[in-house]
């Protein structure tokens, strides 16, 4: 691939660009989906192509092709230059990038058992067995089981001589059971909703989830939700389970701290941010219990890599330290706005897309509480788990989340089950109401393989470390 990439870069250089990168990506995907005893999908997808990004006349241009050769690489680079020159017709300040030493390197993610070498029959057997176990529970109306794997190889070259090659494998799986009551669908998922669990790992991750062993419990909880109490409409103390804390971090910390959103680059689509550049090192984002990191170096995390798609080495950076805003997720261009260098968050979801600022593993760092102590310390409240619905405004202030299940907390003890709890809040008030985070023993990295951003839309694979966390005085039961 080096010859193809160098052909693209040379054509860009000849055309007079001030910056160019060229990226070749090979992606292989396999998905298995079972629904109520029926194999609904088994699919293998392969995609291969080249993307070239340039700065010419002070403006950006990008072109991509599925035809990968030295000749098409040069032609695609020239197309990118022509597009950049057209961009300059409606230009702002010329593009400037923060400093980066040229890099040459390789990186690969861990994968102990290659999921693409495991017999399809064996993978399907796991999904069918889990599905069968859920269907055996009386009252279950629908079931779903899925298993998937992705493999990527990526080569990136820059005009400054940088060249990196990376490869990694992702595995994921999940199950869900549905009970259908009068006028509502009640869902229980494992290990998480919206695609299950995902890691940069191999088949051992899927077998370690023990989908079959969890299937009966998941199904029984779905059925139990039919007779569970409705969520009260009130303001109360809320303990949120780890996966939902992860999504809360994603929506109300991760996205608003993407520096391109802060600068307005995403304004017309996903929106901007309630956080301003001047808030850096000034804003009290949350309480002293709120420590948030962006870390692209965590082994097996879906948000890890060796180098981002600008060649910036993977880093661990604090975004919030003891409640104080200390950083943003940045690119080489956006970092100049805060007088820093990039902390390496630029990723594209394929060869035919430009890199955007994406979350890596953005985590609420663990606190000191045990889960049992946290429940015992709560006199009156709710404990809720597993996302069912999510919505947040265009500045990432007003949010509303629904969860699959909850339990009342009375006198420091978990009580009766609550069905479809939801809660709403305003980001800074909410994070400042956080008064307890469970310890590393309860902390887990949750892979999230469906983060949408950009136009054309890109779907990033990111992750969030989180543990059960308590928030005081939260409005729950909205619209109930």
């Amino acid at each position: 691939m080096r010859d193809v990439i160098e052909a693209a870069l040379e054509a860009a250089r000849t055309a007079g660009v001030s910056y160019a990168d060229a990226r070749v990506v090979v992606a292989l995907t396999e998905e298995i989906a079972v629904g109520y005893g029926v194999v609904e999908a088994i699919e293998s997808r392969a995609s291969f192509g080249l993307g070239v990004r340039v700065v010419a006349d002070g403006a950006w241009g990008f072109a991509a092709t599925r035809e990968v050769s030295e000749a098409t690489a040069a032609e695609t680079a020239r197309q990118a230059v022509a597009i950049a020159r057209a961009s300059a017709r409606v230009a702002g300040i010329p593009v400037a990038l923060s400093e980066l030493e040229p890099v040459v390197g390789t990186w690969s993610g861990g994968c102990e058992i290659d999921p693409f070498t495991v017999a399809l029959e064996d993978k399907l057997a796991v999904a069918l067995s889990a599905d069968e176990a859920m269907r055996a529970v009386e009252g279950v109306a629908l079931t779903k089981a899925h298993i998937g794997a992705n493999r990527y190889r990526k080569w990136l070259g820059l005009l400054d001589g940088s060249f990196v090659e990376q490869s990694w494998t992702e595995s994921g799986a999940g199950i869900a059971a549905y009970a259908i009551g009068e006028g509502e669908v009640l869902t229980r998922s494992y290990p998480n909703s919206h695609g299950g669990g995902w890691r940069q790992a191999g088949w051992a991750y899927v077998t370690g989830l023990d989908l079959v062993g969890n299937a009966t419990r998941v199904a029984e909880e779905a059925v139990a939700l039919m007779s569970a109490a409705p969520c009260p409409s009130t303001t109360t103390d809320l303990i949120i389970g780890g996966s939902q804390v992860g999504l809360q971090v994603h929506e109300s910390i991760g996205h608003p701290l993407e520096l391109d959103r802060v600068l307005g680059d995403e304004a017309a689509f996903a929106g901007t941010s309630w956080v301003a550049l001047g808030d850096l090192d000034e804003l009290r984002y949350g309480s002293e219990h709120v420590n948030v990191t962006a870390d692209a170096t965590i082994p097996e995390s879906l948000g890890s890599f060796g180098y981002d798609d600008e060649g910036v080495p993977a880093q661990r950076d604090f975004l919030i330290r003891e409640g104080l805003l200390t950083g943003f997720l940045s690119s080489r261009e956006s970092a100049t706005a805060i007088g820093r260098t990039s902390n390496g968050a630029m990723r594209a979801d394929g060869w035919n897309r430009i890199p955007l600022i994406r979350m890596t593993t953005v985590s609420l760092e663990p606190g000191t509480w045990t889960f049992d102590d946290l429940i015992a310390d709560t006199d009156d409240g709710l404990y809720i788990e597993t996302n069912n619905s999510w919505s947040i405004d265009d500045k990432r202030l007003n949010f509303q989340f629904g969860c699959e299940i909850g339990w009342e907390i009375k006198g420091g003890k978990l009580g009766r089950m609550i069905r479809r709890p939801n809660y709403t809040g305003i980001t800074p008030q909410f994070w400042n109401s956080c008064d307890a985070v469970c310890s590393a023993d309860h902390w887990e990295v949750w892979g999230l393989a469906n983060c949408g951003k950009g136009e054309p839309m890109q779907v990033a694979h990111v992750a969030h470390g989180a543990a059960p966390t308590r928030f005081r005085g939260v409005q729950v039961g909205v619209g109930r």
Binding site: A41, A64, A86, G271, P456
Partner: protein, 447 residues
């Protein structure tokens, strides 16, 4: 490099031939050439062009199905994909309800591709952005948004004799105009050709709303009479489709339509159809199995109508195939892609004039489903939310959160405009009017 519909058909037939070892085979070719210019802060900051062609092969062995796809079009890669699809099918489990691939049916191909979309190059897109930006800049505002153009050649061939292909084009964009302090306005457009649009006027539409939105105020949560502009209505209609209109959702009892055919669930003034052959439709006239998309009345004067089917769900439920197949494998079920809500006879000014105290919504943001059975949605308003006071558009409001059952809301529709707008893309568009709805639940507000 763009591909013609005939070239796509030839490629699909070649892929089917390579899958001859299967009992049945089908190939879907999707070739796309697209470009998108993105702007923010009154300047172009992203500008991309790409071409891709994907061949997806569905192999059938007995009642087992496998799918494999590739974007490498040489014989070796196509053969590898064909062999992979066959191997997957052999490893899969039987679905006793699988009816086999559908037999060919006559398809009406409509000439919807426009040369102006094909030749809408980066300079032309930049000039369009310039005209849009100027409308904001001259008002002391900043503009953000997109201008895009695309051409899609789609073809399906099968061992049963299906052999169809069609090319469509699309041009579209969005404009967000922003002023200080915090007023925003919005406009969007979608059609087969950029020639349909006056870019300066679209820029002015968004900028005028932004000027009017300056210094928005508070509104207490509660039930309000609302006037929803077409883009807001499209969110509701699309969630009805996403959760309710599919035969699979109905068979699985997840849909509001399940067991309620013929029952009145919405206002008599609400009719929703899926009609790819409507003169105003801009998409394909066949589905992703190559079957003709047929006109389906989903909501008929407020009553639950017929669901959308594909070959699998039509056979399983002994219903006609309405042509709603998505690309295989499709665990989601059939989906209508050419939706429209019937127009009324009012103007938008007449809807506003009919409201003593209410809220005008330009569009929703980040709408999501809380419960599919009631189609309970939550989301935010943005880019032009106004109080309606004594029949007139009044003070701007901070963005509001709604939490509302869509079926209930559509039972309380009291007015519909005659004018409608396309929202979405050329591959899946929704043609909708503005609505006046009573007692719409606003449950919160941006702080």
């Amino acid at each position: 490099m763009s591909m013609t519909a005939d070239q796509a058909r030839e490629l699909a037939r070649r892929a089917v031939e390579m899958t001859a070892a299967a009992d049945e085979a089908e190939a879907l070719v999707g070739a796309e050439t697209s470009a998108l210019t993105r702007f923010a802060d009154n300047r172009i900051h992203q500008n991309v062009a790409t071409d891709d062609s994907v061949v997806s092969i569905r192999a059938v062995v007995g009642k087992r199905v496998g799918v494999a796809s590739t974007n490498r079009l040489d014989d070796g890669s196509l053969r590898a994909a064909a062999n992979s699809a066959i191997a997957i099918a052999r490893a899969s489990a039987e679905d006793p309800d699988f009816p086999g691939l559908p037999a060919p049916e006559p398809v009406e191909i409509v000439d919807r591709a426009r040369q102006a979309a094909r030749s809408f190059g980066p300079e032309q897109r930049a000039d369009a952005v310039g005209a849009i930006v100027e409308a904001s800049r001259t008002r002391g505002l900043v503009a953000a948004g997109t201008i895009r153009a695309a051409e899609h050649a789609i073809a399906i061939a099968s061992s049963r004799g299906v052999d169809v292909g069609m090319t469509i084009t699309g041009a579209g964009g969005t404009v967000l105009s922003t002023g200080e302090p915090s007023g925003t306005g919005w406009a969007s457009f979608i059609g087969a050709s950029p020639e349909l649009f006056e870019f300066a006027a679209i820029g002015a539409e968004a900028a005028d709303i932004a000027v009017r939105s300056k210094e928005p105020g508070d509104l207490d949560p509660g039930e309000y009479t609302v006037v929803l502009a077409p883009e807001a209505v499209s969110d509701i209609v699309n969630f009805l489709a996403y959760t309710g209109f599919s035969a699979k959702a109905i068979a699985e009892d997840r849909s509001f339509m399940a067991g309620r055919v013929g029952e009145r669930v919405m206002s008599e003034s609400i009719t929703i159809i899926d009609d790819a052959l409507d003169p105003e439709a801009i998409g394909l006239t066949f589905d992703y199995e190559g079957m003709p998309k047929k006109r389906a009345v989903l909501i008929d004067a407020g009553r639950v109508g017929e669901p959308i089917t594909d070959s699998y769900w039509a056979a399983r439920l002994s219903m006609p195939n309405s042509g709603g197949a998505l690309p295989a494998p499709n665990s989601f079920g059939p989906l209508p892609l050419d939706l429209q809500m019937a127009p009324g006879d009012a103007t938008i000014d007449e809807l506003i004039a009919a409201v003593d105290r209410g809220v005008y919504v330009t569009r929703f943001h980040y709408t999501n489903i809380e419960d599919p059975k009631t189609v309970t949605l939550t989301g935010m308003t943005r880019d032009g939310t106004f109080a309606i006071e004594n029949g007139k558009l009044g003070r701007p409001l901070k963005n509001l959160r709604f939490t509302q059952g869509a079926i209930e809301a559509l039972a309380r529709v009291k007015g519909i405009t005659s004018a409608r707008r396309h929202v979405g893309s050329e591959e899946s568009s929704t043609l909708v009017p503005a609505l006046l709805i009573e007692r719409f639940a606003m449950t919160g507000q941006t702080g």
